[in-house]
Amino acid sequence: MSKGAKQWGLHLGIIALLFVLQFILPAYHHGNLARIMVLATFAIGYNIAFGYTGLLSLGHAMFFAAGMYGLALTMKFLGFSAATGLLAGIVSAFVLSLAVGLLALRTIGVAFMIVTLMFAQSVYLSILYFGKYTRGDEGFVIQQADRVIAGIDLSNPVNRYFAALVLLSFCLLVSLKLIQAPFGRVLIAIRENEERTKMLGYDVFRHKLASLMISGTISGAAGAAYGLLFGYAGASFATVQYSIFPLLWVLLGGAGTIIGPLAGTLFMFYLIDLLSEITSAYMLIAGVVLVLLTLFARQGIMGEVRKRVIRWLP
């Protein structure tokens, strides 16, 4: 079997497993997995910029929030349906990532981190400033009756799970195809040695911009889906915390691996969920676990798997 066939087989197998789990899992884990799949989509988006292109952004919460508010505000004030609202959310993130990319990509390294952080803070503070419409930190509910696409009630647990699975599968396979394509190879080349890639004749800026836009748009799709599936939009999703989360999920799962973001999100979600039942200092323990993983599994969970077991893992 060729390397490409193995890669497709593995990822389609994971999607099939997630599909089957729908019928097996108890209600609690069923609900959790739906949420994890949406958050993992956010991490997949982040991974394209950070894991494959080497763009360490500290502001991806702005794209998630752009998707969420693009959906929620158009549904609330312009009477958009859930489907058009979802599209509006994705377009919002696309436009924002283009604007941020054009400006922020003039910088590199630490400066890029700071500029993306500042842009994200601007988005967060704008949400608070326009509190009359956004309801600021308090946020607002997207009513259950409005969360319907083509007659499918997305507040229903089964429908929610399938919607999250469709979103995750689409983004997972798109990112796999992207990385297998010459375009993805150029992104990896930029990550490994930007100067050499430039010297080889590639337009590094355009590739980085495209990478950031794909990353931001996928993150925005996750934000819009989160609002739609769980019925709430609030400024807390635009805070710096939600820029750090995808970084952690990707680092834990394995930066530069396609399924690393899913593995990292799953691991982190249950780590916090289980630890919080034992101690109120659960974030401290989560921090220690992260430090240990960074020390002893520097490439993250799936990065270590690639290094030790499945060397063809994309």
């Binding site: 600021g136 609030g234 807390s236 109120s280």
Partner: protein, 434 residues
């Protein structure tokens, strides 16, 4: 290990007998009538499981600590008196980190993992609004103790109720006549620049104008602010009254810096005690507050005419006459808010008993029973005072207290009527489907 699953019922003779009876039932059921045995065991002796969503970490932690203590105390009182419908109450505690995303996850956890009968106890508005949609979808009654106007505004759903504490709109509306008549007509407002502060800004501005007053400055302070001196010069010189309400870890700094800015020449000062909840009024730097006024949801300091109900309530939680823990006088409670937990728990009990609640299939009946509640008389169950519950808006209305700082203590100088806080209904949840 924390008290994540604190079973507050102590081992008593009654409890032991119930367990023996349950065990016998289970054995009989297992050997002869398995389904019936399981049914009778589940309905007769299993505890009523109340999922307590607490702000143990995050910005709401100071409130959460005291909401926790109040909840454990009231659960013990209820269990000592025979529980709910003869069943003991079990409190299942989960920390939501004062975060709406985690809050929604916790509500899911209560409904699908812990199999709780109801969820309860959330304070911060954004956590309530983030969590309530999931409560509605999972059809689990969700009793919040939040003060937010979100319940009565009609934003939420049939399963979300606030029967233990009045909302901000009602509170500020009841304050305006006193401020206007006793302190002055020109008011400068200082409030946190997020939704809670905006509610104060909007509702108080409207209320004071109805009293012939005027808000001359609206000073919003960003939630991340740590130094406040640059904001005080924005207060107009002809201001009669400064109205302040702040929340979060920087409240003490805010109040101290206000004192340093004005010295002895301050205008009248009226604050919501939120600015100094869990803070000792005898803290150095707060001397300038002498003679100023505060709203209190429930008077922190035991008053001369303290009711027997308040005595009972303080003793049960372990609070002294100054509103601090009896084991540590520096550990000041969030007395103006936490009574809401106590009273909400008794409302849950009343609604369950009135509806003959046995299992989650009776949740709709329980909501209807809660909606049918109208009056709550001052009692050990309602130590803050008389209340009226509006079943249509799922919101309770009650008296508010205005206290003056006297000898570094708060002395109640005015108690509003319940009617002072009334406003027209903005929704009718009883017409919404279950």
């Amino acid at each position: 290990m924390t008290d994540n699953k604190q079973k507050t019922n102590l081992t008593t003779r009654r409890g032991a007998l119930k367990k023996i009876a349950a065990g016998t039932g289970a054995i009989i059921g297992a050997t002869s009538m398995p389904l019936l045995g399981r049914y009778s065991q589940a309905h007769s002796s299993e505890p009523i499981r109340i999922g307590f969503q607490v702000h143990r970490t995050g910005i709401g932690a100071a409130y959460g600590r005291w909401y926790d203590r109040t909840t454990m105390a009231v659960a013990k009182v209820i269990n000592d008196a025979g529980g709910i419908n003869g069943r003991p109450v079990e409190i299942i505690t989960e920390d939501d980190g004062t975060d709406p995303k985690r809050g929604a996850e916790i509500v899911e956890k209560f409904a699908t993992k812990h199999k709780c009968d109801v969820a309860y106890g959330t304070l911060f508005s954004h956590v309530v609004i983030g969590s309530a949609p999931r409560a509605g979808e999972l059809k689990i009654p969700y009793f919040v103790v939040s003060e937010g106007h979100h319940v009565a505004s009609g934003m939420l759903n049939r399963y979300t109720l606030q029967p233990g504490i009045t909302d901000v709109k009602s509170q500020v509306q009841a304050m305006a006549p006193f401020v206007s008549a006793n302190l002055g007509k020109k008011v400068a407002m200082i409030f946190p620049d997020f939704a809670f502060g905006h509610n104060h800004r909007d509702y108080f501005s409207e209320a004071i104008e109805k009293q012939g007053g005027k808000v001359v400055a609206k000073i919003a302070i960003p939630p991340t602010e740590t130094s406040f001196t640059k904001y005080f010069p924005k207060i107009p010189r002809d201001t009669d009254v400064i109205y302040h309400v702040m929340v979060g870890p920087a409240v003490l700094t805010f109040v101290k810096e206000m004192g340093e800015f004005y010295g002895p020449n301050a205008p009248q000062i009226f604050g919501f005690i939120d600015s100094l909840e869990a803070v000792d009024l005898a803290s150095p730097g707060l001397e300038f507050l002498e003679g100023t006024y505060f709203w209190e949801g429930n008077p922190r300091y035991a008053q001369k005419d303290q009711s027997e109900y308040d005595k009972f309530y303080r003793k049960a939680i372990g609070i002294d006459a100054n509103g601090a823990s009896i084991s540590d006088s520096k550990d000041v409670s969030t007395y103006a808010h936490m009574f809401g937990c106590w009273e909400t728990m008794f409302t849950i009990k009343d609604a369950m008993e009135a509806s003959g609640y046995q299992s989650p299939k009776d949740r709709a009946k329980m909501i209807e029973a809660a909606e049918a509640i109208t009056t709550m008389a001052a009692s050990n169950e309602h130590p803050q005072g008389d209340k009226l519950f509006n079943g249509k808006t799922h919101q309770v209305f009650g008296k508010q207290y205005i206290s003056k700082v006297n000898g570094q203590k708060l002395e109640v100088v005015h108690t509003t009527s319940i009617e002072d806080g009334f406003y027209p209904d903005e929704t009718d949840y009883t017409k919404k489907p279950f």
